[in-house]
Subunit: 245 residues, 2 copies
Amino acid sequence: MPPPAVILSQPQIGENIGAAARAMKNFGLTDLRLVAPRCRWPNERALALASGAGDILAAARVYPDIAAALADIRLVLATTARARDVVREILTPEAAATRLREAESSGVASALLFGGERAGLTNDELSLAEAVITIPTAEFSSLNLGQAVLLIGHEWLKAADTTPASRTRKTIAVPATRQELIDLFEHLERELDAGGFFFPAAKKETMVRNIRAMILRSGLNDQQVRTIRGMIVALVKNKYRGEKA
Amino acid sequence: MPPPAVILSQPQIGENIGAAARAMKNFGLTDLRLVAPRCRWPNERALALASGAGDILAAARVYPDIAAALADIRLVLATTARARDVVREILTPEAAATRLREAESSGVASALLFGGERAGLTNDELSLAEAVITIPTAEFSSLNLGQAVLLIGHEWLKAADTTPASRTRKTIAVPATRQELIDLFEHLERELDAGGFFFPAAKKETMVRNIRAMILRSGLNDQQVRTIRGMIVALVKNKYRGEKA
């Protein structure tokens, strides 16, 4: 099942078509369709802005009207900044992405429909779409065509992306064992004691508890425990040297 | 609590700073900080690309180095295309947005750190960040500075956005009552029967069941039921007229 087609209706500015192609390629969208472009086509400014996505521009198909561009499509989601009078379900980009992925897994060909830079989609074009997508913004809302394609493409990729929300490279290091930590605690507390750190003596127990909590919270691995013990040795050495001087 | 600062380290191209400002304003980010910009500053190309976000450029502060720009910040997330050797937690933009919102609600000042166009962030800069953000892409990965700010700003807004995933404007219409639907079914079936539609008669029951299921699935409201009944009346009228002619 190919990814959703991206249909630009009456695009006016070559740069925006190029930016849309570049945005598409970042997120695995490949089928670009232009309806009655208002700029020259092919377009060198589009190619300049596509930056590596020239293949998508080269494969783009041009249609005389929206009906021809949509002929083989079974699910159409239209993007609009202002959801106008047309009675339509309005989706967030994230919900739209889910809808497109569901269509994909049922073998349903889908398309994302974007209007021209100035006027957006006409009501006639909107009437051919199952639902419209609006991108939530702050009060200031000024997204160009390339940015709209970028944000929706991003949500489309994310909807099937398995990247963990949080991960750490270099997983060779494992969390320190409790024994390694206890050895570190005792080493540190012994040297602190020798340095007269625990004063007054009545507070020593609380101070030790706080230091241990601080160390535990930083989630040290075994290598880091060894590094810190080396640091303690180095610091203590310097101190004695200082005292001797 | 102000929204996260956006820190651009050694930006080279005025247009990208302008695009970053425009992206920021769309998603409610306002605090732009530039570290040792490599282009002239203030910059007319930046202003041209900001398109309505000139106030953010005008308020942008310039710092000589990364340490000065980060001085008052307590949580730093760095954006990088390639997570390099630095051992760091790697977050998706969505997970990063959640982290920033958590910081905000605890009164912790935060910042998003973006590297220069060519080389990205240095390892020294990365070493000042709690975690790095990478944006999941397809194999082709080519996002410029403005696009990276746009995608992360979008996730930041979304993390506190209450827009329902799906909604329908014009909620005046309510789903039709069962009585309205039954009246429609019977009206339609009566006229279909008169037109000889249910043939062979043995299949009538199945045909009726399928038509009712089709109508029910479209979730009609009371206004739509009235419209359809009007359509049936009009179609029947035409038919009789045709027969008379």
